[in-house]
Symmetry: C2
Subunit: 307 residues, 2 copies
């Protein structure tokens, strides 16, 4: 059930195409329109029959939509907003799925007409893969979707968007854009940054060959390569658009790492043990909260039942 | 098939108990003796029927062994070596599974009798879990085991140990202890260090609550908590015993991270994109090399077949 007679998805990548699949698999009665500027994505979305109408023309895609969801890199929003806001249907909601929120409000709010409603959103879900073929219908099941409605947004519009995300399996929480950006800086942006960084460091070693890095990656490194395989355009835009919070978290991370480095240098085994012992517990809390599965090594050894 | 009439495993944790299971499941004909100083591990190993004989007395465990494998934290080797070397059977091999190798040679070599053979080893395999119940028989399947025999080690002894690891599914490579420690510093030790560190940083924030870190961990953070849930004693000993290589790799990592931080501060989007684009490729090479599975998000969405 949804209040939106037409939903338009701008961008048919991992998230946009997963939204299309989730809307269909949850039986939401709505006309579903997809739009992508990449001709290959358009062809794939058509071949996969993901939406009722697929087009490369965003103006055509949004003019009858009751809900428009931007699912493109956030660096594209300024241009898209300037083109779409003038032609949107009165009463329609403009939302998105971007991983940063304060810059999205700053970009889109000045472009909004008084009779339309900006309610930015962020489903905390994804994989390292990209494109229409990478999507799947259960991506949002049991995951959180954060909405950051500007003050004075009509409550019934926020409620309608909440109901939409709940209908495809998510739990919704509202917060300010600034708080969102701080929370995601530590839970998502910094993890990606240091994963990209260590993979970069490994590429430049002289003492260790690239084939050795690959052969012995099961020691831990391979976990980081998954995250560092995420979409480069999307992540460039995330870091450029959440600079303050990322730099703040990065400063704290580096400070802590320097202290840890010092403990190694001066053989402070007790300090190392103390940190390693505390961090162990947070894993259990994440599993207890249903945010990861209770299987060792991410279930890589699924063929084997422990004796 | 194995050349060892008796194999003794010192330590019945994740690795020791997995070795016992792998030896049994691959049908190696050998008398299998297990030893652990922790009474609960002894009881669990007995209940699980992991070995032919289980004891808490390492001297009793090793005296008839043709191959002794230390599978305890490397910080315990000095004491164990001093007690075990005098009572080992003439011609026996002393090996181990520790994640560092130069310090192991330095610790054990002076304790060795002329009629026994030190051949340190390191199976590059594991999970974040610990104890006899956490082990499983396929842990070493398709993984690499690195041996670091000192110069002048009898070649037939090295060959016998190689055959043992191959018989339980591993591929063996020999290298010097120093090179091993440099390779593993980047592929295993540094990834663990920065995972422990970011989880530590997240615990100390004032702006973001712990419950928010847990709720929104699916954005990337949860991946790091898996590694940061690894055994604290083992990892304390790794960092204290591979100080030089870890500090060297950490220095390079921090240097690269500082450059990345600067690119974010000065909006150098092209530099960010360039790094993020290059790192993506190494993931594919790891999958092509059979060192990780070709499933998005570590297969977390196994219930769902992409449409």
């Amino acid at each position: 059930m949804t209040d939106f007679a037409q939903i338009t998805l701008i961008g048919m990548g991992l998230i946009g195409s997963s939204l299309a699949r989730a809307i269909r698999s949850h039986g939401l009665k709505t006309r579903l329109v997809g739009c992508d500027s990449n001709p290959q994505h358009v062809a794939e979305a058509r071949a996969l029959n993901l939406v009722d109408q697929i087009t490369s023309d965003p103006i055509d895609a949004v003019k009858s939509a009751d809900l428009v969801i931007l699912a493109t890199p956030v660096g594209s929003y300024a241009d898209l907003g300037a083109r779409l806001c003038p032609v949107m249907k009165p009463g329609a909601i403009l939302s998105d799925v971007g991983s940063v929120k304060a810059s999205v409000v700053k970009t889109l709010q000045p472009l909004m007409r008084d009779d339309c409603h900006l309610i930015p959103g962020h489903p905390v879900a994804g994989t390292e893969q990209s494109g229409p073929k990478a999507g799947f219908s259960t991506l949002f099941d049991g995951r959180w979707c954060i909405l950051t409605p500007p003050e004075n947004t009509a409550p019934e519009k926020v409620r309608a968007l909440e109901k939409f995300w709940q209908a495809i399996g998510s739990t919704v929480e509202c917060m300010t854009p600034d708080h969102h950006d701080m929370v995601l800086a530590i839970t998502s942006h910094l993890p990606h940054l240091i994963a990209y960084n260590i993979v970069g460091t490994a590429r430049h070693l002289e003492e260790v060959t690239k084939s050795e890095v690959i052969k012995y990656s099961a020691g831990g490194f391979r976990d980081f390569t998954r995250i560092a395989a995420s979409d480069p355009t999307m992540w460039r835009d995330v870091f450029l658009n959440n600079k303050d919070a990322v730099l703040e978290m990065l400063g704290r991370f580096t400070e802590d790492l320097t202290a840890l480095q010092r403990s190694i240098r001066y053989d402070e085994g007790d300090k190392l043990f103390d940190l390693f012992d505390r961090t162990r517990r947070i894993r259990k809390q994440i599993i207890d909260a249903g945010q990861d599965e209770d299987v060792p090594d991410f279930g890589r050894h699924t063929d084997d039942i422990p004796d």
